[in-house]
């Protein structure tokens, strides 16, 4: 419990740093958002008009005051209006978050379904044919971009064998191919990690001891799995965040109106408020998921709890 609390404190520090970093990154950009908006509004803006727009957007104020103002609103869930459409960003963001989130969840399931059995298989048949096949498959899948896998899946399962549609995100079925495309390279990297932590588990002293006590292999396998799961869970959490952050490419391939394409549109039209909002929300999800993974790990593996925590529990008992 104490461990989780101290992690929560760190989380707050991290989140604060993230807001600062987000704001800093977008204000680094040499592109003048005021000028971009003025051009859109007046076609050929005069200098006065640009100054006027800049004042209206509050971009003529010092960095610190802009940041505090933005942060104050963002905490209340108000990200302002898009420079591009003039509509509140939060509406567009929550609409585009839905397909992306569903896709990330589905690809998380696929990743787990691919990496756990294949990891167990290659650890059990270490050095054998199955292990080598999985290894080679892993290297190949790690070396291609997921959007290209998306294209290939599309050619096979939507064009040659028309099982799925090639675009849209109307039903869960439409998200199968994009999620699979994301899951394949992610799983390839995860299998490697899971395999080596399983092997580490089988080589450790507690397995030797359990065997000496005559505990059945099936129960030992259970113990080893419990030992080996935490790194995989951390990776799964991380890849969920990566999926949302890198969703733009897959969304382009399958024409899904998600948060990735929203971010790219905002970036290419210099809509800095929208960019800020997207980056902040994605980072918040990322941090939250990683924290969740940590909590799950603490529940699975009690030795992960901090030494002081373990000591406190011992003295209490």
């Amino acid at each position: 419990m104490k461990h989780i609390l101290s992690r929560l404190l760190m989380l707050a520090v991290v989140m604060f740093g993230v807001t600062l970093l987000t704001f800093f990154y977008t204000s680094l950009s040499p592109v003048d958002a005021a000028q971009a908006l003025a051009v859109r509004r007046y076609t050929r803006p005069t200098d006065e008009q640009i100054t006027e727009v800049r004042h209206e957007l509050g971009l003529d104020r010092p960095f610190a005051s802009q940041y505090i103002n933005w942060l104050g609103n963002a905490v209340r869930g108000d990200f302002g209006d898009s420079y591009n459409t003039g509509k509140p960003i939060i509406e567009e963001l929550s609409a585009s978050m839905r397909p992306t989130f569903a896709m990330a969840l589905m690809s998380l399931v696929f990743t787990a379904l691919l990496s756990i059995p294949l990891g167990v298989l290659s650890a059990a048949r270490r050095g054998g044919f199955a292990d080598k096949t999985v290894y080679l498959f892993g290297i190949v899948c790690m070396s291609v971009p997921n959007y290209w896998i998306g294209f290939m899946l599309m050619i096979v399962f939507a064009v040659n064998i028309p099982l799925f549609s090639i675009m849209g995100a109307d039903s869960l079925k439409d998200l199968v191919l994009p999620s699979l495309a994301i899951a394949i390279p992610t799983a390839a990297a995860n299998i490697r990690v899971f395999r080596s932590s399983l092997i580490e588990g089988y080589n450790s002293d507690f397995v030797l001891y359990a065997r000496a006590r005559g505990i059945s292999e099936a129960r030992i396998a259970g113990m080893v799995n419990r030992f080996a799961l935490p790194p995989l869970i951390t990776l799964l959490g991380q890849s969920f965040g990566f999926t949302i952050a890198g969703s733009a490419m897959i969304e382009f391939v399958f024409s899904i109106p998600g948060v990735g394409s929203m971010l790219v549109t905002a970036l290419s039209s210099r809509d800095t408020v929208t960019v800020n909002a997207c980056v902040l929300v994605i980072a918040a999800i990322f941090v939250a998921v990683i924290f969740l993974a940590e909590v799950v790990n603490t529940l699975i593996d009690p030795t992960r709890r901090s030494k002081e925590g373990a000591y406190a529990e011992k003295t209490a008992a």
Binding site: M10, V13, I139, Y147, F151, A283
Partner: protein, 272 residues
């Protein structure tokens, strides 16, 4: 080390693939049959023929030449990027992990903050930073990726610095700088090579992602990812045009991955 590598078929294949990519990059004009940007509107989407060995794209440009020149674009961005990432992460992480104390404490907090932002997201927001497009891609990748690498280097240094031989060095009067440069860095060097070799393949894939989204590079640049822009339209008629660039990325990235993973097996023999 080199001898061990040469005894592993996987490492040899990886090195050959790396060498091929680097040769193609260096001598792209010698290999390419045509100018990669020459538009031949009369031969749009031509079938493979003598003049265009792999045919042409929707603007009548030679596919094979574009694939070859793309190696140059991709490698000329990814090599400096991984070099800068390596320099920054080794310098910073070694310093913080070795000196320990407050510097290390600050490093951990800062890296936690930087790692809260997924690299692709950071790189995307920063990609329009400078006039020069290639340069701003390099910088954005470095800013996005340094911390992930520095974190790994830090654990290597921490593991190494507590080994008994370091204590022996210190007792025999080695200066701290000498310990770092002559003992710690050489001993973790193979691990670093693994990290940056597999990291390079990640950077190659990341750059192709930018190009695919149309961020960063000039429009119409010959790059593997850029060649897939608008591929949706070709999916029914010319699926092979979608396959080629991906296979090139696969070849380039797999070379570095194969080599890196083979080296990893040599570094940590305990696993098998």
């Amino acid at each position: 080390m080199l001898k061990k590598l040469l005894h592993r078929p996987q490492a040899v294949v990886g090195m050959l693939m790396m060498l091929t990519v680097l040769t193609v990059m260096a001598a792209a004009p010698c290999f390419a049959p045509n100018d990669p940007n020459k538009i031949d509107i009369l031969h749009k989407l031509a079938a493979p023929c003598e003049q265009y060995p792999l045919g042409t794209d929707e603007m009548g440009r030679c596919i094979l030449s574009r694939l070859i020149f793309a190696a140059r674009v991709s490698m000329s961005i990814s090599l400096p990027a991984i070099g800068a990432i390596a320099a920054i992460s080794v310098l910073l992480a070694t310093f913080c992990a070795y000196t320990g104390g407050i510097a290390d404490r600050i490093f951990v907090i800062l890296s936690n903050i930087f790692m809260a932002l997924p690299p692709f997201l950071v790189a995307m927001t920063l990609v329009g930073l400078f006039e020069s497009k290639a340069f701003s891609i390099i910088i954005s990748i470095v800013i996005a990726m340094w911390v992930w690498n520095a974190q790994v280097v830090r654990t290597y240094v921490l593991r190494e610095k507590n080994k008994p031989y370091i204590v022996t060095c210190r007792m025999s009067g080695c200066s701290e700088l000498r310990i770092i440069l002559r003992h710690i860095i050489p001993n973790i060097f193979p691990h670093l090579l693994v990290l940056y070799s597999t990291g390079l393949s990640g950077v190659i894939i990341m750059i192709s992602g930018y190009a695919f989204l149309g961020l960063g590079l000039e429009a119409g640049a010959a790059e593997w990812g850029a060649m897939l822009v608008g591929a949706n339209k070709l999916i029914f008629s010319h699926p092979e045009l979608i396959a080629y660039p991906g296979l090139c990325i696969l070849f380039a990235a797999a070379g570095f991955n194969l080599f890196g993973e083979a080296l990893r097996d040599i570094c940590d023999p305990g696993e098998d």
